[in-house]
């Protein structure tokens, strides 16, 4: 019942549409601003009595250690999970993972499952796969319900409905809740507390009757076979505790080697994501506990491109990601375009590297993502596990370009650079070009449509192949009427 990212246009096209939506830009700038302020206050608190950088280094080291010995850790995780009464499944890709979850639900003749908010189940399109088999999948996180009931797409990792304001949410609840369960109460206002109350009532009946729950996991501890879910609302606890059967889909990069090494990650994640010292609820469980919680526990270990990313020497650091979304909140590009423009459940700077790493380059939409950045580096600075996103972006850009080296028709950019090389490699050719640009400069200073800070005139949109695209979002400053070399010659280095 929700939308799909399949067939989304490349970033520049999608971003252009998003930039025209003033309501969206207002919602985004407010929301990212609020989280940024909360986060930086807590980072400063840790900096004062412990050292935020030391904690980041420890977090990055734990994830690196897990990934560098991934095979050992996965085999150990499987062994410990099985010993604790869980059934372990392996899935090469989305289709395999979905088939496993569908089979478990069918074994229990479940017509519906309740879901904990999970990035990985969105990545594999689990809800759609369940619905195709006649099984309803109910999202239970408030923002996810807003997205699901609104037949919409998530636009942020942590706050998927960040693009919606309270009035829009009220309308969605009034229109949709009654169609799938307990309707919104009469006279529902747009107060966040009232809207949260409506969601509580609507979902409680689903929690109390659900037989099967589906979750992801924030961490999976190899040494002990323990899964960890970090959340705020208590919907996670409901799903992890009340149903008889629990299926958790876990990306293979979620593994943490030992129990005590969870520590730096548990301290980094809430501060980086919601700007809280600790999230309201963290649940950990190890297989089945007799008499407490689900008595049938399944864990699906998923690859779905993660081993592609692991094989990339520069890109593999992206697998350290703990899905906190701090990089989204500090990104000047994300703040203006929102998450939908990235065409994936993983938006923002991390999405711009994770999608090409998981899926491979070569598709126009995926290939546009490494360019969705000004390379300002704010994301690296905010990342709690020190993923050097700009480094990976540049690396992926080179891969995208390499993919076009043998094209029979060269890209305009390649033609332009070849032309530049021809001109710049010879003094005579350069001086000729400079005379031409000086002339253009004189013309533009007269007729240029905009004035840049400092008074220099600039051209507006220039027609022509390549030029039109480049200048549609950039001002082209008028070239100086005289080049540096011409000035040097005329004044003998400024002495005449």
């Amino acid at each position: 019942m929700s939308g799909t990212f399949v067939g989304m246009p490349a970033f520049p096209t999608a971003a252009k549409a998003a930039l025209g939506d003033t309501q969206l830009r207002h919602n985004l700038s407010h929301a990212t601003g609020v989280i940024r302020a909360k986060r930086s206050k807590l980072v400063a608190e840790v900096e004062e009595n412990l050292g935020w950088e030391d904690l980041r280094l420890a977090g990055a080291a734990v994830k690196d250690r897990a990934l560098r010995d991934l095979e050992t850790n996965l085999v150990l995780l499987e062994e410990r999970l099985s010993a604790a009464g869980a059934t372990v499944h392996w899935a090469r890709d989305a289709a395999e993972a979905n088939a496993i979850v569908v089979a478990v639900a069918k074994q229990h003749a479940a017509e519906e499952v309740v879901k904990v908010k999970s990035m990985v189940t969105q990545e594999i399109g689990l809800n759609e796969a369940l619905e195709a088999e006649g099984i309803s999948a109910w999202e239970t996180d408030l923002a996810e319900i807003i997205v699901q009931l609104g037949h919409d797409l998530p636009s942020h990792i942590l706050v998927p409905a960040i693009h919606r304001n309270r009035a829009e949410i009220r309308e969605i609840f009034i229109r949709e809740m009654g169609l799938v369960g307990k309707p919104a109460p009469e006279g529902l206002t747009d107060e966040p507390a009232a809207l949260a109350g409506a969601a509580r009532e609507h979902l409680r009946e689903k929690f109390l009757r659900a037989k099967v729950a589906v979750s992801g996991a924030n961490f999976a501890v190899a040494e002990t076979g323990t899964l960890v879910v970090v959340e705020s609302e208590g919907n996670g606890r409901m799903c992890l505790t009340l149903p008889d059967v629990l299926v958790s889909v876990v990306g293979i990069e979620k593994v943490v080697p030992s129990w005590t090494e969870l520590d730096p990650l548990l301290r980094l994640l809430p501060r980086s994501s919601t700007g809280e010292r600790m999230n309201p609820y963290t649940s950990t469980w190890t297989g089945v506990t007799p008499g407490d919680g689900p008595q049938e526990v399944h864990v699906v270990l998923l690859d779905n491109g993660r081993t592609n990313a692991l094989a990339d020497e520069v890109g593999r650091q992206a697998l350290r990601c703990i899905r906190c979304s701090a990089c989204l909140n500090v990104c000047p590009v994300y703040e203006r375009t929102g998450g939908h423009a990235y065409g994936s459940v993983y938006p923002g700077p991390i999405g711009a590297i994770l999608n090409p790493l998981l899926k491979g380059t070569g598709d126009a939409q995926t290939d546009s993502l490494p360019y969705a950045s000004s390379l300002c580096g704010a994301c690296f600075e905010a990342c709690p596990v020190r993923i050097d996103i700009p480094e990976v972006l540049v690396h992926l850009r080179s891969k995208v370009v390499d993919g076009h080296r043998d094209d029979t028709v060269s890209k305009l950019e390649a033609v332009a650079f070849k032309g530049a090389a021809y001109v710049l490699s010879d003094a005579k050719r350069l001086s000729l070009a400079e005379r031409g640009s000086g002339l253009a400069g004189r013309v533009l200073s007269r007729f240029g449509r905009t004035t840049l800070p400092g008074g220099r005139r600039a051209a507006g949109r220039i027609p022509g192949p390549g030029a039109a695209k480049w200048t549609s979002a950039r001002d082209l400053p008028a070239p100086p009427a005289e080049s540096f070399r011409a000035w040097w010659k005329r004044t003998d280095g400024g002495t005449k």
């Binding site: 989280i35 250690r65 010995d69 809207l195 979902l203 609302e233 730096p264 506990t289 692991l310």
Partner: protein, 199 residues
């Protein structure tokens, strides 16, 4: 036919052909030692920051404090082995269904660990805390934490806890900021968290 397991592990092995594993566990940074009384004060302050109700009392006052934390006429469930007697409470014997629990107003439990730096309470669901469902479905959670259970920070707690047990880490009442980043206390878990620090 290769199984998914073998294929994935094979891909992992090939992807990491250039990498040496690192066998040394990572030690995480620790806060400087502080007097325990300060740690307990910080715990109380940080739990309160989440808009939970926080009270402190002596062991002799505990029964009265707990009694007062239960609203008049409210139904109460307690786990077996609770450190204090609660008048009129149903002791959970594992047979209460989720729907039964939904009709109960208050749960009173002990705790396993309190974490000062983050204002967190951890339940390991042994005696005095009971199975997970009883601290989840009722709308008010009264939780008793002894001062000697309070530790400075997360690494101290992780060391004390047994991962074989299911654990619930609680930092304030259930909350959401999903609507315009406006924090609302109380979604699906207990909407009121009442912490009594004893000792």
């Amino acid at each position: 036919m290769t199984t998914a397991r073998d294929e994935i592990l094979g891909r992992v092995r090939r992807a990491l052909a250039d990498v040496e594993p690192d066998r040394e566990p990572v030690a995480s940074p620790r806060l400087a030692e502080r007097p325990h009384a300060e740690v307990v004060d910080l715990f109380a302050e940080r739990v309160e920051d989440y808009r939970a109700i926080v009270e402190r009392c002596t062991p002799a006052q505990l029964a009265r404090k707990v009694g007062a934390a239960v609203p008049k006429g409210a139904t109460v469930v307690v786990p077996a082995g609770l450190s204090v007697a609660v008048k009129g409470a149903t002791v959970d014997d594992g047979t209460l269904t989720s729907a039964d629990l939904d009709a109960i107003d208050v749960v009173v439990t002990d705790a396993r660990v309190g974490i000062a730096e983050t204002g967190t309470i951890v339940l390991d669901h042994t005696a005095g805390m009971g199975r997970r469902a009883i601290t989840l479905v009722p709308d008010r959670h009264v939780c008793i934490v002894r001062t000697d259970q309070v530790v400075a920070d997360v690494p101290d707690a992780v060391e004390l806890l047994d991962p074989a047990r299911p654990l619930t880490w609680i930092s304030g009442p259930s909350a959401t900021s999903d609507i315009e980043l406006d924090r609302v206390e109380g979604v699906h878990g207990p909407r009121t968290l009442h912490v009594i620090i004893v000792g």
